[in-house]
């Protein structure tokens, strides 16, 4: 706990800071409030001057219009499906690799870590052209496999999980070994149960990263039915020609669930962000 020195001059500066922060907070929140209010507006409200802050008549027709214009639920499902599988694969592969690199000994470990570290320096934009050619030669354009597999990058999550695994006391592992546990049971009975919270933090981080993925799904999907949510919304925006009230309804349905989840996971999320920052 922090104990602050309080005196009058400092209190003044705190009030000033608070006023400033509140103004900034209003600016940060304004787009969300505008979005929610506007999703109930009519086209006439949108085009009226002076601007209307509240809908003239609250109606939900913009929401049903979204479903008529685009296969919105299908986009949602595509996003959930690909993100969940990508995250599960990433975390599964990373846990195995992290355990192997931290708690087991085999030749070539240092080299392996170097290759993984260098893979983090190469952004997707560098590899996406050959990857597209590979995926299309395998006839995986417009498939879930084509969306998911090329985006599996595990180096970052592996290093993150490695830092958690390294914090497990060696005594604990030695004790399990003395009890007759082999490498596999040491992992499932000692290492994973003791880092459960940490692994789920890594999973949350990886989930958010995959959820916002944009460039690759844009490249690899032509068929409307395989578009993920970000790609679907981009095309909705291009094709709906300034029907802003409808776009706001789509935005509400995309943003609101995330904000609600955010309220529950904020603490974990903040912790994982600060952890990656402090590590460097």
């Amino acid at each position: 706990m922090k104990t602050k020195i309080r005196n009058t001059t400092h209190l003044d500066s705190h009030y000033l800071a608070f006023a400033f922060l509140m103004i900034c907070a209003v600016i940060m929140l304004f787009p969300f409030i505008w979005m929610i209010l506007s999703s109930f507006k009519t086209a006439a409200d949108v085009y009226s001057y002076p601007p209307r802050w509240l809908p003239s008549k609250w109606n939900g027709s913009n929401y049903s219009k979204v479903f008529n214009m685009i296969p919105f639920l299908r986009y949602y499902w595509n996003s959930i499906y690909t993100t969940v599988i990508m995250t599960a694969l990433q975390i599964g592969i990373s846990v195995l690799a992290a355990y192997s690199l931290v708690h087991l000994r085999w030749p070539g470990q240092a080299f392996m870590a170097t290759v993984m570290r260098s893979s983090m320096f190469v952004p997707m934009v560098v590899t996406m052209i050959p990857m597209y050619l590979l995926v299309s030669s395998l006839n995986l354009v417009d498939t879930y496999a084509g969306i998911i597999l090329p985006q599996i990058s595990t180096a970052f999550t592996t290093f993150l999980i490695m830092s958690y695994f390294a914090s497990i006391p060696q005594d604990m592992i030695d004790a399990a070994k003395l009890d007759g546990c082999g490498p596999f049971r040491v992992m499932t009975r000692v290492v994973i149960p003791n880092t459960k919270g940490a692994i789920s933090t890594a999973a949350l981080f990886s989930f958010l990263g995959n959820w916002k993925s944009y460039t690759w799904p844009l490249i690899i999907t032509n068929d409307e039915m395989y578009r993920t949510l970000p790609i679907g919304l981009k095309y909705l925006q291009q094709e709906s020609s300034s029907e802003y009230q409808v776009m706001m309804a789509a935005a509400v349905m995309t943003i609101l669930p995330v904000l609600i989840i955010f309220v529950f996971f904020e603490k974990q999320l903040v912790r994982s962000i600060t952890l990656t920052g402090m590590k460097s």
Binding site: I27, S153, T154
Partner: protein
């Protein structure tokens, strides 16, 4: 890597010598087995594509024209030709390079500066601290494309609330995304709104890590808020500042999504066409994958050099401080 030289002996655990080191056979086999999936994905998503993209960059491979011939350094020459002339920066790859550099510099300075400033304010003894922090952080977690839909409306020259506010105040309206002089700025404002919370979290964590004894000692010596920040807090935040800047460079040079959503065709007069948009259009709209591969590798070299310079400067500064 952990050293585990003293393993508790177990009955029946065989050992094997490889490259002059002794390994437990079973442990080694399990270790190799567990690394197989990582190796497989590294090969298919990293090693092979990197080799391929280098090879492609020396060809005139085109999906549309169906050509595939080795052209040596031609792609690189064409992309960098006239680098030192003014016209180079007006069009094509040069323009996208200039736009990217301008965007990155502005984003990096404004985002870092604003985040640091807001974090310092939040670190003070203000009420509603948690609520305020969450408010700044919320735009970071919401989906990018969905939130850019809101801002596209804000920027609408006719029915956007921003112009309506300007009009109400008697100020001249702006064309925002639809004019070459303001399009970049418009996306920059959006990306600051969207991203500043991330760095606030990092700086705030750093500030809260600073021991109160430093702060109290400085206060007793009569240091002002201003001195306290620049003489004590800022130097102690150096590792985080450096991390923020490094991530900022990498992320702003490869930015694409917000630009592609807000200005799908590269903006008025190509004013918001960035390197990644250039590569995307060349490879996937015009099918010229050879040339696009060369552009992608140039981008990689730029990012790599910048991060190396940054970590070199940081290493030097850290030594200076000690």
């Amino acid at each position: 890597m952990k050293k585990k030289d003293e393993h508790p002996e177990k009955a029946g655990s065989g050992k094997v010598r490889l490259f002059g080191k002794e390994y437990h056979t079973k442990e080694m086999l399990v270790g190799l087995l567990f690394i197989v999936p990582t190796v497989a994905f590294l090969i298919f998503t990293f090693v092979i594509p990197v080799i391929d993209v280098i090879e492609l960059s020396f060809t005139n491979f085109s999906m549309s024209a169906g050509t595939m011939k080795n052209v040596g350094m031609d792609n690189y020459k064409d992309l960098l030709e006239g680098f030192f002339t003014a016209e180079y920066w007006e069009d094509g790859f040069g323009q996208s390079l200039r736009n990217t550099v301008v965007y990155s510099l502005l984003k990096l300075t404004l985002d870092t500066g604003l985040a640091l400033f807001l974090a310092v304010q939040l670190d003070k003894n203000v009420p509603l601290k948690r609520f305020l922090r969450s408010t700044f952080f919320a735009p970071v977690v919401v989906p990018m494309v969905a939130s850019s839909l809101i801002w596209i409306w804000f920027y609408d020259p006719n029915v956007g609330p921003l112009n309506q506010i300007l009009q109400f105040l008697g100020l001249p309206a702006s064309k925002w995304l639809y004019h070459e002089s303001t399009s970049m700025l418009s996306i920059l404002i959006f990306s600051l709104w969207k991203g500043v919370g991330y760095n606030i979290i990092l700086f705030l964590a750093g500030l809260q890590n600073i021991s109160d004894s430093y702060v109290e000692a400085a206060r007793l010596d009569g240091a002002s808020d201003w001195q306290l920040f620049w003489k004590i807090k800022f130097p102690l935040l150096r590792p985080i500042t450096s991390f923020v800047i490094m991530m900022g460079i990498i992320n702003s040079f490869k930015v694409f999504a917000e630009f592609n959503v807000m200005t799908p065709d590269g903006g008025p007069l190509g004013s918001t066409k960035l390197i990644v948009s250039y590569i995307y259009e060349l490879a996937f709209t015009r099918g010229r994958m050879g040339r696009a591969s060369a552009a992608a590798l140039i981008l990689f070299v730029i990012i790599f050099v910048l991060t190396q310079i940054q970590s070199f400067i940081n290493a030097k500064k850290t030594i200076d401080v000690e």
